[in-house]
């Protein structure tokens, strides 16, 4: 996720990936009563994926370093609806 000034698209893509992984049918792939390295696989995958999503959000939400960033305009908290 480079800071390309297209955060809106990245955000929506991340949301969709979240829905995709957490909803059936994908969830059923790892939803098995099996231990992996001593931990239930669903437990590991769910918490691991959860953590990844949080890391991605944190990365996307960090403040920009300089104001002359070309993507600065789309960095406002709300992306204007009018540009879509």
């Amino acid at each position: 996720m480079r800071r390309t000034g297209r955060k809106k698209e990245w955000t929506l893509a991340l949301f969709c990936v979240g829905i995709l992984v957490l909803f059936p049918p994908i969830v059923s792939i790892f939803d098995k009563p099996v231990l992996v390295m001593g931990l239930p696989i669903a437990y590991v995958v769910l918490f691991g994926f959860w953590g990844l999503v949080i890391a991605a959000v944190a990365y996307g939400a960090r403040r920009k370093a300089s104001t002359d960033d070309p993507g600065a305009s789309s960095d406002s908290l709300i992306d204007k609806q009018s540009d879509s």
């Binding site: 955060k7 809106k8 955000t11 929506l12 991340l14 949301f15 979240g18 829905i19 957490l22 909803f23 059936p24 969830v27 059923s28 939803d31 098995k32 009563p33 099996v34 231990l35 390295m37 001593g38 931990l39 239930p40 696989i41 669903a42 437990y43 769910l46 918490f47 959860w50 953590g51 999503v53 949080i54 890391a55 991605a56 959000v57 944190a58 939400a61 960090r62 403040r63 406002s76 908290l77 709300i78 992306d79 204007k80 609806q81 009018s82």
Partner: protein, 906 residues
């Protein structure tokens, strides 16, 4: 454990909360805010984790494994898109001084009173079970920690002869009243409250983690050992999300929790209304999901630990957090866990009751009071005390309602089920709010219809069956349907079976809600105020953050009376301060007797909105100013972004029209340039032709003279005569070209003086005398004697006369030519006309004859006479003298050239 100790610790904890809240308020009053940082903000959002999380998740995990997780995954997904949804809602709340979720919906849909009340009613009905759930968890945990392995203690302990839960409820009400209704402006921040809530979030996190660490690393030997033993105990069904049923409930719960994190009244209140600065959301966006993740890591381990510890024993899985430490005689840890559960429960109860009381006061009670007792209300002095008292009473009533529900109904239900009923109620707000901030077309009637339908379906498919299960309604309501009609069975409406009750209810209620909202919104036209609020909400952006509200008031109220009105609701001092600030903001001097303009009225409304909600504020201002709403057209001049965009596009349109005009001009100029270019070419070819003709004849006759010996003297004389004449013509031509070029370039040396026109004309005619006589032309001169002098170059004026007259000589009838020359004064100027009796000028040639090298021919075969420059020179000269020259046909049919020159005095 000693009941007295537990009670003592509990109340000591509550006392600590009071102290923290008090300290927070003190700091705020000193201007050194304790809570204005993103971490406190994040912790305050964690009010989401109630006793349901603290106790209920473990209970659910002990029964069905990992399927407690959607309640926390849903909010995480919502925080992924924080910049679309949350930031927008928060900004709207700040701009419009929103006080609650009911206020938000009512403000969005035209400050509609009915909508606000409906949302309030749904919120109260939906939240009461949730509050009772918290009270239940406090009571249960208290009884457990006191009664555990303490056989001589009754199961339901009343150590002081009264119910502890009631005492706790009243203490919480007291706290909410003290720190949640400090100022009347509910859009202002309650710093003490937020500080206390954040503290509670820390306590419950640490308490839960402590129990989790104890179970995982003390009872068991780390995660590996724990899960290995679980497998050995045949608990592998807890390792998965779903053991045998489908994923319907998993998906439903995810969706519900996504709605809950946004639209539970307490979440909305703490996330949006109590938000200090939008920028804090940047941190909360990842930190809050991280909080959820951390607090959930040990849910499954504790559940498994409980299951293994109490294998074969009767135990309430909902209380494992407490009973597992007690089982291993960790009383201090158990007490800490109890305090953690208490903090989870109390924080929810406090925030929910404050949020609900604001809604009840602003969106339910005040509008009704205004409607029924408007006269009485206006006659009262300071209304802010009344408002605060309504809010305080609401808090108490809401908590007593929750307590009542707990006493009567909650015994039969587990924590999670009650919580999900509440979540489903909050989800009913989703279509109206999400639609409201992304779709301008949503109307108040649509929102009202959708909410009502969704609420009724929720009531029928979820709440009433829960009453039936609690024994309030006959149980055959569930098994046989209403009036025994099978298709009306609340858990299988219209024969829809195969879903869990939650998914079933969500499906039908959302179908009714979204369907009603969309269809009714599309059905009719939007009212103007719906449209304005719609575009204000949808197009909210950083640019219009300073812009407070739409201005559609115009009326005749004075500033003084407005200030007095606002003062009655928010306190005189505060109103005065607000108005002064507004005046200095707008750089105006306020005079109490001035008429309040629409900006001032909008400001007054927004201050009132902050105190009593937008719908009520609108009614009050409306009845006060007795004016009319600004007309439809004026409404659309309101500076919302739509009009700005329209304005902008209109400007663009103007610009593009200008551009088009410029390019047209350019095109025209280009065409003229091309014309000039071809004119230049024509000029060159004509001039070379004109020079060539005399040159040819000069050369021809020179050659004859050179070659031929046998020419007679007469012949030679004749030839030389021709050569001389042609040379003269050549000289004249070149002179004229030079003159014309000089004149056109403005380099002519004019010797301007006051000239007597009559004598000049006479002189000029005298030079032509010979030619005229030779041609036997009759010259009729008619010169007025009293012509004043003109400012001109004498020689050039004579030149004009000579040119025109020689033209006339050329074109007049032959023989019998007549030329008339007349000069007189006319309209402050000299008017000279020279006419002949020739064939005249064709109307289409009248302008051309003044062009260079235009040569009139008397017949198609005849050679042109003259150079074609005479009249062009005339025009240059006359134009320089400030006059005009034109051609038409005289009375006799011949051509008439007329020119005028202004008098020198004029």
């Amino acid at each position: 454990m000693q009941g007295g100790l537990v009670v003592g610790v509990s109340f000591a904890y509550l006392g600590l909360l009071f102290a923290i809240a008090y300290y927070g308020e003190r700091r705020a009053a000193q201007g050194r805010s304790l809570v204005n940082n993103p971490y406190i903000y994040t912790l305050s959002i964690a009010v989401y984790c109630t006793s349901w999380t603290f106790y209920g998740s473990v209970g659910r995990a002990a029964k069905t494994g990992l399927d407690f997780l959607p309640i926390y995954l849903g909010p995480t997904l919502v925080f992924v898109v924080w910049s679309f949804v949350l930031a927008k809602i928060i900004r709207i709340c700040k701009i419009h001084r929103i006080t609650s979720i009911a206020d938000f919906i009512s403000t969005r849909y035209g400050k509609n009173f009915a909508l606000g009340s409906l949302v309030t009613i749904i919120a109260v009905i939906g939240t009461t079970p949730y509050i009772s759930l918290q009270l239940k968890s406090i009571a249960t945990s208290f009884n457990l920690i006191v009664g555990f392995k303490n056989t001589d203690f009754p199961t339901y302990g009343n150590p002081f002869g009264i119910d502890t839960t009631l005492v706790v409820a009243i203490a919480l009400a007291l706290f909410a009243i003290l720190f949640g209704t400090r100022h009347i402006e509910s859009s202002e921040h309650h710093e003490g409250l937020v500080a206390a809530i954040a503290f509670e979030s820390l306590i419950k996190l640490f308490a839960f983690l402590a129990v989790g660490f104890f179970v995982t690393f003390s009872v068991f030997d780390g995660f590996g050992d724990l899960f290995y033993q679980a497998m050995a105990h045949g608990l592998t069904h807890l390792f998965v999300v779903n053991h045998d049923q489908g994923y319907g409930q998993w998906v439903t719960m995810t969706i519900l929790s996504m709605a809950a994190i946004l639209f539970l009244p307490r979440q909305f209140y703490i996330t949006a209304v109590e938000n200090r600065d939008e920028i804090q959301l940047r941190t909360a966006a990842w930190l809050f999901p991280l909080y959820l993740l951390v607090i959930n890591i040990f849910v499954l381990p504790i559940a498994i630990g409980g299951k293994i510890s109490f294998a074969g024993l009767a135990s309430d899985a909902d209380m494992f957090v407490l009973t597992v430490p007690l089982h291993f005689d960790q009383t201090q840890l158990a007490l800490f866990a109890f305090i953690g559960g208490l903090s989870a429960a109390t924080s929810m109860v406090i925030v929910a009751s404050i949020a609900l009381s604001t809604m009840v006061c602003n969106n339910l009670v005040m509008p009704l009071l205004l409607r029924w007792e408007w006269v009485n209300l206006t006659e009262r002095g300071d209304l802010s005390a009344l408002l605060l008292n309504i809010r305080r009473a609401s808090i108490l009533i809401i908590l007593l309602l929750g307590y009542g529900y707990f006493r009567i109904a909650s015994e039969s239900y587990s924590l999670v089920t009650i919580g999900l009923v509440s979540f489903s109620a909050a989800a009913q707000f989703a279509p109206a709010i999400i639609g409201g901030i992304f779709w301008k077309g949503g109307s108040s009637r649509g929102a009202l219809t959708g909410l009502s339908l969704g609420f009724l379906v929720w009531l029928y498919t979820l709440l009433l069956p829960s009453f039936a299960q609690s024994g309030w309604l006959p149980i055959n309501f569930i098994s046989d349907g209403l009036f025994g009609i099978y298709s009306l069975k609340p858990y299988a409406l219209f024969g829809l079976e195969g879903f869990d009750s939650l998914s079933h209810s969500l499906f039908w209620s959302m179908l009714a809600n979204i369907g009603g909202y969309v269809v009714v919104s599309l059905w009719g036209d939007l009212s103007p105020i719906d449209r304005i609020q719609g575009s204000l909400f949808v197009d909210v952006s950083e640019e219009n953050l300073g812009q407070k509200d739409s201005q559609y008031w115009q009326g005749t109220a004075t500033i003084g009376s407005m200030q007095e009105l606002v003062g009655r609701f928010v306190g005189t001092e505060r109103a005065e301060k607000g108005f002064q600030a507004f005046a200095s903001d707008q750089n105006i001097v306020m005079n109490e007797n001035d008429i309040a303009d629409s900006k001032m009225l909008a400001h007054a409304e927004s201050v009132l909105s902050g105190a009593i909600g937008s719908a009520t504020a609108r009614v009050i201002i409306g009845s006060m100013i007795k004016g009319e709403n600004v007309s439809f057209n004026e409404v659309f001049q309101i500076l919302d972004e739509t009009t700005q965009v329209i304005e902008y596009s209109r400007m663009l349109e103007v610009k593009s029209t200008e551009l088009e005009e410029t390019s047209l001009k350019l095109q025209r100029a280009n065409k003229r340039l091309k014309e000039f270019d071809s004119l230049k070419d024509d000029f060159l070819s004509t001039i070379s032709h004109e020079l060539r003709t005399p040159l040819t004849s000069i050369r021809a006759f020179s050659e004859i003279l050179f070659d031929a010996d046998g020419t007679t003297h007469e012949e030679r004389q004749h030839f030389l005569g021709i050569i001389t004449k042609e040379s003269e013509r050549l000289t004249r031509l070149i002179d004229q070209i030079l003159d014309l070029a000089k004149m056109e370039a403005g380099r002519m040396n004019w010797t301007m003086s006051n000239v007597d026109p009559a004598s000049t004309i006479k002189e000029a005619l005298a030079t032509m005398d010979g030619l005229i006589k030779e041609r036997k032309i009759q010259l009729i001169v008619d010169l007025s004697d009293t012509i004043p002098e003109i400012r001109a170059d004498r020689d050039q004026l004579a030149q004009v006369v000579i040119n025109v007259v020689s033209n006339a000589i050329k074109f007049c009838k032959h023989p019998g030519g007549i030329i008339r020359v007349s000069a007189r004064s006319h309209l402050n100027g000299l008017l000279v006309s020279i006419s002949d009796n020739g064939s005249g000028v064709l109307p289409e040639h009248r302008d051309f004859i003044f062009e260079k090298f235009h040569q009139s021919r008397q017949g198609s075969n005849e050679m042109p006479v003259g150079t074609g420059l005479g009249l062009a020179i005339c025009r240059q000269i006359i134009t320089f003298f400030g006059g005009d020259i034109w051609a038409d046909n005289g009375k006799e049919g011949g051509a008439r050239i007329t020119f005028n020159i202004p008098f020198s005095s004029a």
